[in-house]
Point group: C2
Chain length 502, copies 2
Amino acid sequence: MLRLRRVAIDTYRENVAYLHRDCPLYRSEGFQALSKVEVQAPHDDGAAVLAVLNIVDDQAVVATDELGLSEPAFDQLGRSPGEPVRVAHAEPPASLDAVHRKIQGERLELEDFLAIAKDVTAHRYSKMEIAAFLVASAQAGLERDEVLHLTRAMVETGERLDWGESLVVDKHCIGGIPGNRTSMLVVPIVAAHGMLIPKTSSRAITSPAGTADTMEVLARVSLPSEKLREIVHRERGCIAWGGTARLAPVDDIMISVERPLSVDAPGQLVASILSKKLAAGSTHLLIDIPMGPTAKVRRMDDGLQLRKLFEFVGDRLGLHVQVVITDGSQPIGRGIGPVLEARDVMQILRNEPEAPQDLRQKALRLAGRVLEFDPDVRGGLGFDIARDILDSGRALAKMEAIIESQGPNPEPATPARLQQDVKSPASGVVSAIDNLLMARIARLAGAPMDKGSGVDLFKKTGDPVEQGEPLYRVYASFPADFHFACDLVKKKPGYVIEEARK
Amino acid sequence: MLRLRRVAIDTYRENVAYLHRDCPLYRSEGFQALSKVEVQAPHDDGAAVLAVLNIVDDQAVVATDELGLSEPAFDQLGRSPGEPVRVAHAEPPASLDAVHRKIQGERLELEDFLAIAKDVTAHRYSKMEIAAFLVASAQAGLERDEVLHLTRAMVETGERLDWGESLVVDKHCIGGIPGNRTSMLVVPIVAAHGMLIPKTSSRAITSPAGTADTMEVLARVSLPSEKLREIVHRERGCIAWGGTARLAPVDDIMISVERPLSVDAPGQLVASILSKKLAAGSTHLLIDIPMGPTAKVRRMDDGLQLRKLFEFVGDRLGLHVQVVITDGSQPIGRGIGPVLEARDVMQILRNEPEAPQDLRQKALRLAGRVLEFDPDVRGGLGFDIARDILDSGRALAKMEAIIESQGPNPEPATPARLQQDVKSPASGVVSAIDNLLMARIARLAGAPMDKGSGVDLFKKTGDPVEQGEPLYRVYASFPADFHFACDLVKKKPGYVIEEARK
């Protein structure tokens, strides 16, 4: 048997095993083309991981009598360095047969989706295989029963929270609009009203900020589940990172392939969102679908179809879903990137006059709809109640209490040091802002890892501008990032200016 | 800038870049989720490679001021260790847009396939992205015009041989049948007749032997192109490995994803085979489609449809294609694995009485059809001419001349040392042999890397057997391989015995 070694390489959600080319026990070439091996710790509970095999020609990485595992794979196996392991040819995961039937255009059943979800959760799928499942599902499309099965399978292969109350509300945006940090306003408003809103969010994967990234500017977001439970019961809400609990773990793995591939089919989207919310114990959910020429949903038809799919799956899984289709024609708020977005949120909570009105209005609208999940709130009055809570300072007080409970950030980040203003090439009116480009510029500038970096918008659609007047400012901390962002700005500034008639 | 380092890890046709987590220049996390980076050698012709990024926590792999490239990526960049390189966020390859359109169910045009082929050849696609293209093409299916475009694109993105003659013949089997080493018989027969048959073959990827692997038991197969050309003009034929020339390089890359995924759609198959043959300069091609319950093609309908697709694409690209559908119900010949197959071939060429008759008959049939590409051979007479050439010893003489020209193997391998006979569990008649299982057993035993390993079949379908009589023998050189193969044999021996009525 070989000695186990931890190879200090982070292969990002794909297991990799490293075998020396001159290993006397196993002939590496025999394994390589088959692509996957099973690494087993013997005399044991049968702990095993599947991994893609890389062949090593350097004893410094692995010796000939060693078997190396990349960081994620090593952690999964849960054995110590030096322990004996053996290697076997990996059988393809049994559920891959269902993926092949999907490629053939067949309709899959609940048991198929369950088998796929179990194998994916156990890291038995390579990224290629996950890509095959996603593309096959995206192309033929999942029928709505299949979306239901997939959602159920994703919930059942993870943990599930129970808050012990009959009304547990949440809101979720399907994403794609930079800025748009409404959750950090909706949570304090709704919690101040007394409804339970335990908001756990993801960190950004390919966007310039997730709610968890932005909240982290103000407070700790990575909290042990006991602590989180205590905060939620006391404050009626929280804004935390959802990664600590194993809620629908399939989703995290699939997203790691979906995002780089930009495969984002309606069925996957619905299953991804609803499985997370069901696992998080929500009973009532408001979904925000922004629509616009550079949003995820570009036509009303598509928005309506997506709405029906959310409703169908939600109803059958006992989750009351309401869907609103909102304006997704441009970024919401001013800041894009954690620090800048947190500034916007706090300006609104503090009722400061320079607070971005579009973000305020949208948050009130969403909070109002969530408040109407309360049987005691008369239909149509939610918005007014939300505005009262915000204007009276009760939302700010609730936010401060939540921050205090989660643990305030002792050294809040500030906007980054390197800055460049992007100026209007002409006088006229801003006629369009490209969501995708603004997100990409902020991302290149360093968001969300570097909290203070991003983009601050001075002008929005419809605003008049003079030639040479700044449209937005790019913030970055690292010269390489600043360079990447400014390079893109030069090529594609993301704004369309309709020149004034002279 | 970072200093380039060669990381001695063979990542098998996928480029990987290694960056230390604490690299002061680039913040690794910013890149990781985006998944791909572009590594550039500056002040230069703009040499650049795209690579998937792995984050390293060990200075022994890469230091914080270094950028590591895996072996294939390092070789592609073609720079020396220590040279300065810079890293940029990789734009997704432009042709990925066409893949997304394919996922949406659109029909692609020649320019789309050309763009995809160029980007794949330049290693701009990750395996995930190739999987997306393959699955999208497999599921909706490529229309025959699309198969034509894809074939043309695969030819045009590589080199193309020109033999300077108007009749350059070849034969090709779509694969899936163990044993079946007909090319090594067809080439000497056809070359002895005087027709030009410059046969370049692949090595096995997931099968227990390719023609190149088996020929290598007898002679050198990796030959410089000048040498190959000289041999072909003198002997009228060769049996060499095709990997040295850059013929349809897209095909090799796509196959490295197709095989582990077991995605093998008709359109891909036809484009893969015909592009290689066109690039190799063939003018007339005989395709062998074996059909049977464990073959690639299982029903006559599918075989006929595949035949039409070969004919359609071949005709439009100026390659005269003939297709024969043959018996693929069981392995052909006795040996499975390079040494055992080479033994079968030489027994037939030497007209030894114990030579496997099924392989002899099939090779004569195929050689006969190839001979009929000669305008001077009357239709229907090919088989008899082929048999005369074989029986008279002229085929053997030609094979010996080809071996002599390519360079005989000074130490031909022999069957492997570890052996186990697999015995019949009952008396009766062999009613079925599973192609897939026999291939898998031979593969696990070490074929094709370990030349002497594999399986030797003593009984074929229809043969009577006594209980306890050996059905086949497993050969292996390495204890681990022997163990893998014998384990599978115990679970699934691959033979069905119909018990004799008592």
